[in-house]
Amino acid sequence: MAKRDALGKKPLQVLEKIRENLEKLNEKMEIMIELQKHGKKEAQPLPEAPLDVMTLLSMPDHLRKTAMTVCRLGRATAEDVAEQTHRARAVESAYLNQLVIMGHLKKERVGRKAYFYVDREGQG
């Protein structure tokens, strides 16, 4: 009770904040792993790789499923994608961030939510 007063928040809200921060940390780690895999320094801009059908065909199955779902939905959170693919939200979050690093998707944060989309008009 004393701790609750000290923080001025309900324990549930605190836990929610911790979860959110852990997710952000996870995303950053995934980005670092991917950048390391591709032998790139963080300062380098992300490559732009059009998400056309031939690219989709050449992708590993697990990423294609995620990429196709974003193509269909237009703009989606990891939760939206997970709902369609019936895979865990955290798994989709990892795949979506991987697709961002590969340059196939763009990511935009609006408040607490991260939206992923294909930048069809911006490329080229």
Partner: protein, 261 residues
């Protein structure tokens, strides 16, 4: 009955398997049963729908929509009056001029990516907002960009195939390496079937044998009808010959699709 309309892509491995004939007659069959249908010619390398339907000029082609020049409603041509049936038939035509074919053959990956986005957007603009029951994409054969875009945007892929050995092998390869990868619901139409060549099989046996060979459902088996070939695509056969066996087979196929969705 369905709550939301569907996009059907009619595709094949080889040319000359009867995709356009199948697409046009399937569209007319759906219209006969009161459906609101739009048929699109996505064979930009060899457009044929404009010629078949005797439409020489239009303000906007499907090419213009994919090029981002206009919205889709400018492209649609209402042919409902020609059909005299309960439903509505619209078409979106590919520009058949040499210049347009050359232009469409020289598009880059980024353009193709945008074209895919525009095809996917039809689900909203036509199916959800305008209440179309079916959008039918008549595609070009093989692994062309425009065809794969159409397949990705579709809910159901109908593959028209013949008994030609190279067609059978190519179709089997596409089932494994294309439709499966995109997790598309796929069904086969065996077209131009010469029953004389397989006297030991009845229709059901042939269907079972081919389903075993392709490992996907057979939507229909269409024998090689001389009358259909003789009509040379000058008329919409299913509309003009309602009692012909070809029309009956198309009826069965349309009902199967409607029941499935």
């Amino acid at each position: 009955m369905i709550a939301l309309g569907k996009i059907i892509a009619v595709h094949s491995y080889k040319g000359g398997t009867g995709k356009t004939l199948l697409s046009l007659n399937l569209a007319a069959t759906f219209v006969k049963y009161g459906k609101k249908v739009c048929l699109f010619d996505l064979d930009f390398r060899a457009p044929s729908l404009a010629t078949l339907l005797k439409i020489e000029k239009t303000d906007y082609w499907l090419n213009d929509y994919l090029n981002g020049i206009c919205e889709i409603d400018k492209v649609l041509i209402d042919l409902s009056e020609r059909i005299h049936d309960e439903g509505k038939l619209f078409v979106g035509l590919a520009n058949p001029t040499t210049e347009a074919i050359r232009d469409m053959s020289s598009k880059d990956r980024k353009w193709e990516m945008r074209a895919l986005g525009r095809l996917l957007a039809l689900k909203n603009s036509l199916v959800k907002e305008k209440g179309f029951d079916y959008l039918i994409f008549d595609t070009s054969p093989g692994l062309q960009y425009s065809s794969i875009n159409a397949i990705v945007a579709a809910d159901l892929v109908i593959v028209a195939t013949t008994f030609d050995r190279s067609d059978v092998n190519g179709t089997k390869r596409m089932l494994r390496e294309l439709y499966d990868l995109f997790e598309k619901k796929t069904e086969i139409v065996l077209n131009k079937v010469l029953y004389d060549f397989s006297p030991k099989f009845g229709k059901e046996e042939l269907k079972a044998k081919m389903e075993d060979e392709y490992q996907v459902p057979i939507l229909g088996i269409i024998p090689c009808f001389c009358e259909v070939l003789k009509s040379e695509g000058k008329t919409i056969f299913a509309q003009n010959r309602p009692e012909h066996p070809f029309t009956k087979i198309l009826d069965e196929m349309a009902h199967k699709i409607d029941d499935e969705v």
